[in-house]
Symmetry: C2
DNA sequence: CTGAAAGCGCTTACAG
DNA sequence: CTGAAAGCGCTTACAG
């Protein structure tokens, strides 16, 4: 009873029912008598039959697929945080019956409005940091094409579509509070300053809020602009040291910047955390392994991925979706001089 | 001239030609007069039209999609090496006109024979380390279902399907040669010993070959079995130290093991590389950041990903495919005591 | 609870 | 170079 590429018609013949009944039975329609359904499903299993997704999709105008668009225009390799989100995204999607199509994009690429138009995906998840000016335009184009999408990122006033992200303002606040509680007073900031990046702006704002609450006015001379790379973190500290304005702590916009900064400090014979405390942002696997271990602000990739999938699936299914933020968490290691109860190396990697 | 969800028929009406001609024009058929083709393509662009993949796939029995199945049964998070391969895989696939469907699997899961049977993918790329006994069974099932697939991994005698991987034997040889050239004589090995994992067996064999070439018989008492985790590397070194047999170098089957091993040595006040040299395998981003920087054997993820995509696409298109291996490369950092010309931190991350 | 029938939107022999 | 027509394999109103 071998059929090479069985169709529902083959099963119908074998079961002695109509093809329509086979289709119903395989979709667990209550319209089909249980006995009939069981028989049909058994035959399908025996034949190694699986519904042709193209045919089903053509009929139903669905693909049961989510496209995950990763973009990254920094000079580093694909951000590991996004990669680690891939894990929870694919798992959540699978649980809800969706496949995940992955595409790595340059921000300058066409943004594949066609994913939905071509019925390859029912909706998009957008993941990555980028220049927001350019970004906004693309989002508007997606919205104009009636593409369903959800963005990982902050709530931005007037931005088309839905988003879910980390509360970067709170993250920056947590980082700066930690430094203040350790007695640090002259706390610098290294990161994106421009409003090109609302993520980084929010981190900065949280930092500034904590300082002001402590009666300290953030000092321009302790701020250095840097993109997300170790090199830029390194160079930023060199600049800072040249300026000659003293500082006893640094809040870096990302872990990569923080790691570069720590290295620059060490190369300049400045002790971390003896002379200067350093806090990062992201908690990438590296953060636990550098020396000293980097205290940083963690975004929960698991929660984030789950929320994004839930959001896009709700969008696809026409249910209401709210943009939202999740709370970040301070991970204390050695780079600030706080007493560490137990060294957390995080997950291996 | 707005059409909500345009089909080729809408374009045909607008262009004053038949739907068949539209289909030909959009696929750049030479059968269509250039003028007609240009006109049709212009209209398609104006309408934001994209070919319905379900309909096209139903007709052609193709999905132009590759399924990437990542599995990992180690206790660590998804192996970063595989994740970094994702980059070159999606890019290569895109260049060849294929989408990439990603699925994270447990080795114990069903292996989605249905990806191809359901016409969701034209072929599979299998990525991950695993228990080979269990593995083999699944591969046989895939082959029995006429599923096209290519595996990242070693050439294994009698294994169904095609594969592409790193020459682990040469990698192990390079690592051990390096240690021998630095004057090390008592070189231990930490890693999988069982033949469950041909990858690790090959690494061990290369190591043993280098030793024997140098007139040294690999010593049982300097071998400790360990899975791919920092913890197991740490514990392995503790065991080794307890045994009391002296050693001046360690070759670890993976970077994670090596990093755990280095930490155990440091915790036991054994200097790395002063007393003991350590070499790892993989060159994960971490390797450049631990202290001392880990000398290790690098597998080129870029090349690997490209080769896997090329392989599966050839398989899909009925072209001949050869299983193959690529040469690994020794990355010298500080953990062995060799003179390092320039510190290579590799790519950020 | 089941069947006959229409139709989703394409691709491609076939005929001209 | 172009068109009319068949058909890919499903899902789902419609009728019974």
């Amino acid at each position: 009873m071998k059929v090479e590429n069985p169709t529902s018609r083959d099963i119908a013949d074998l079961a002695g029912v109509s093809q329509a009944t086979v289709s119903r039975a395989l979709r667990n329609s209550p319209l089909v008598r249980e006995e009939t359904r069981n028989k049909i499903q058994q035959i399908a299993r025996d034949l190694n039959y699986f519904v042709n997704r193209n045919a089903a999709g053509l009929r139903t105008h669905q693909s049961n697929t989510i496209a995950l668009l990763l973009f990254d225009d920094s000079d580093t390799k694909m951000n590991l945080f996004f990669l680690s989100m891939l894990d929870s995204i694919t798992r959540s999607a699978a649980r809800l019956g969706y496949d995940v199509l992955v595409s790595l994009q340059q921000l300058t690429d066409d943004w594949h409005i066609e994913y939905q138009a071509s019925h390859r995906a029912d909706g998009l998840i957008l993941l990555g940091y980028g220049d927001y000016a350019e970004y906004r335009e693309k989002l508007a184009a997606l919205a104009a094409a009636h593409t369903r999408f959800i963005i990982w990122g902050p709530l931005v006033e007037g931005q088309p579509g839905h988003s879910f992200g980390c509360d970067n303002e709170v993250g920056g606040y947590l980082a700066a509070r930690h430094l203040l509680e350790l007695g640090r007073k002259r706390i610098g900031y290294i990161g994106h300053m421009a409003r090109r990046s609302p993520e980084h702006a929010a981190r900065y704002n949280g930092y500034a809020r904590a300082l002001r609450e402590a009666g300290i006015e953030p000092s321009e001379t302790l701020h250095v602009s840097a993109d997300n790379s170790e090199t830029q973190g390194y160079e930023a500290v060199q600049q800072l040291l040249q300026r000659g304005d003293s500082f006893d702590a640094l809040f870096a916009g990302t872990d990569l910047i923080a790691i570069g900064a720590m290295r620059a400090l060490q190369d300049a014979a400045v002790s971390v955390p003896g002379d200067v405390s350093v806090v990062g942002f992201d908690d990438m696997p590296l953060a636990a392994y550098v020396s000293p271990g980097l205290t940083t602000v963690q975004q929960n990739a698991q929660l984030g991925g789950d929320a994004l999938v839930e959001g896009i699936v709700n969008l696809i299914e026409g249910k209401p979706v709210q943009s939202g933020l999740m709370a970040p968490k301070l991970i204390v290691r050695e780079s600030c001089g706080a007493t560490v109860v137990q060294r957390d190396r995080g997950s291996a990697g």
